[in-house]
């Protein structure tokens, strides 16, 4: 019974009636795969990383209880929303000299596009596995959905919270309420900046740094997430900074501290203010 409940929750995440990716923190946390302990020995060529059972075998024995759900489901996957790459709100070279045109172009047209494509493929695969009652395949795809869905969410947030240097939006004065809240929380804007930068530089491996607001308590905090884990649940992302090497390497090489210093000149405080005031929600 517990399984059926979980099952229903997950399918709701994927096939929710809303037209945007609707995933909450607790749901993802309950289904994530611990990549650290993932071991394949030996590797099955067809299998994916992090799955310790043979996923190539298809399950031909659907659980009796599942048929209740399946009978009511469209047997095609045409109803699935296809996510698309959002266009940038500025030109590829608009963030120079802090982020080069070449980085922006690769980052947007290659990296972000790959997350979108892989997310669509994973959702399609999941829908098919769902119709076939192939639970193992569905579970296998959860981590793929988390990674690529997270990549799509994170990059969409990131582009929108950047603005060309010197524009009105790139000045912290464009976020009066947020600025007050930051000063209340950290004492001064400079202290906040210092703490945020330190968090960004402390990330081990690939990941993101975020200014986050707790939806219920309204409290601000600095968080980091690994790989493409998104900020979800009761936490509202206000500002995100990409600390994957692909975000800066071509221009800054191993000098990530200079990238972090540079990024402060191109934060879109207008966007941050609207997110802080709960006036925007990410529709993908």
């Amino acid at each position: 019974m517990q399984f059926l409940q979980y099952f229903a929750v997950f399918t709701q995440i994927i096939y929710g009636s809303d037209n945007h990716l609707n995933v909450t923190g607790s749901q993802i946390a309950a289904t994530s795969v611990d990549s650290e302990t993932a071991t394949i020995l030996p590797v099955d060529i067809e299998s994916k990383i992090g799955v310790d059972f043979d996923i190539t075998a298809t399950t031909e024995v659907p659980l009796a209880t599942n048929s209740i759900i399946f009978d009511n489901i469209d047997k095609t996957t045409d109803y699935l929303k296809k996510f698309t790459l959002p266009s940038l709100p500025y030109a590829y070279n608009a963030l120079e000299p802090y982020i080069s045109k070449q980085i922006m172009e690769l980052h947007h047209t290659r990296h972000h596009q790959a997350y979108v494509d892989n997310l669509n493929a994973a959702l399609q695969g999941h829908a098919t596995a769902f119709q076939k009652a192939d639970v193992k395949k569905q579970i296998e795809l959860q981590q793929v959905i988390k990674f690529n869905g997270g990549g799509h969410i994170n990059h969409s947030l990131f582009w929108a919270n950047l603005s060309p240097a010197g524009t009105p939006a790139a000045s912290p004065s464009a976020a009066p309420q947020l600025r007050d809240a930051i000063e209340e929380r950290w004492g001064s804007y400079d202290t906040f900046k210092e703490k945020f930068s330190k968090a960004l530089l402390g990330i081990q491996g690939s990941g993101w740094g975020w200014l986050v607001k707790d939806k219920n308590k309204g409290i601000l905090s600095i968080e980091t997430t690994k790989d493409q884990d998104p900020v979800i649940g009761d936490r509202i992302p206000i500002i995100g900074v990409d600390m994957w090497e692909h975000a800066y390497y071509i221009q800054y090489l191993n000098d990530k501290a200079s990238y972090v210093e540079g990024v402060w000149n191109i934060i879109n405080w207008e966007t941050a203010e609207t997110r802080f005031k709960n006036l925007t929600s990410l529709y993908l």
Partner: protein, 224 residues
């Protein structure tokens, strides 16, 4: 009262001082190992610029970070500050892992003009064939593992020290292969390992690197 305070109180100050002094005196600093070939020697598979940055900047940062973390750890050990020791373990793991992994990586690569790219031989070759069918099937499996790394990490051909068999594992970030599994051959899947040359086309990098893999080094590790 915290555990560290408790221990500090139970330990006479003279004993503490001696312990701090002794742990610091006997601990050797880690240093950056020299590469067994020139920076440009792995071209065109890995550019000289990547090799130079990867060795002189990235690996050096892990060595420095490890020495720094160990110095702080020795101090915390001397003071009996368990909380601080536990806090420092993540840094030792990350920087120590980075130092171990890169040291193994440089050794398990070689220029084509030396033995780079020559397929495995001897008992290791038979173990690979036994597990994967063929050398090509193994490479395909290893590349699939590398492509599946989400974020930064490594893929390894390992030996199970209990069964003597071989297999493939991946590790996130700089987590090293330790315990009953022994690393035989590691491929760095961090973006800094290929980005300047291959950009987002990591499949090309994983496809090309087999031309500079040093199987003699892997065979030596297998026999050890």
């Amino acid at each position: 009262m915290s555990l560290s305070n408790l221990r500090a109180r139970l330990l006479p100050s003279t004993v503490r001082a001696v312990r701090v002094a002794s742990t610091q005196a006997t601990r050797a600093k880690h240093t950056l190992p020299d590469l067994p070939y020139d920076y440009g020697a792995l071209e065109p598979v890995i550019s000289g610029k990547i090799m130079e940055l990867h060795h002189k900047k990235h690996h050096q940062t892990y060595v420095n970070g490890l020495n720094d973390a160990e110095a702080k750890y020795a101090e915390a050990l001397g003071l009996g500050d368990v909380a601080k020791q536990v806090e420092l373990q993540a840094l030792v793991k990350f920087h120590g892992g980075g130092h171990l992994n890169h040291t193994l990586f440089w050794e398990n690569l070689a220029p084509k003009s030396s033995c780079g790219g020559a397929p495995p031989s001897g008992i290791l070759a038979s173990q690979i064939n036994k597990t994967f069918g063929t050398y090509d099937a193994f490479k395909k499996a290893m590349n699939a593992a590398l492509m599946g790394v989400q974020g930064s990490g490594w893929a390894w051909l390992v030996k199970d020290s209990e069964t003597g068999g071989v297999g493939i594992v991946t590790r996130p970030n700089q987590d090293p292969v330790v315990g009953k599994l022994r690393p035989l051959l590691g491929i760095d899947a961090w973006e800094h390992a290929y980005y300047l040359q291959y950009e987002n086309r990591k499949a090309e990098y994983f496809g090309a690197i087999w031309d500079v893999v040093n199987w003699k080094a892997a065979e030596k590790r297998f026999a050890a």
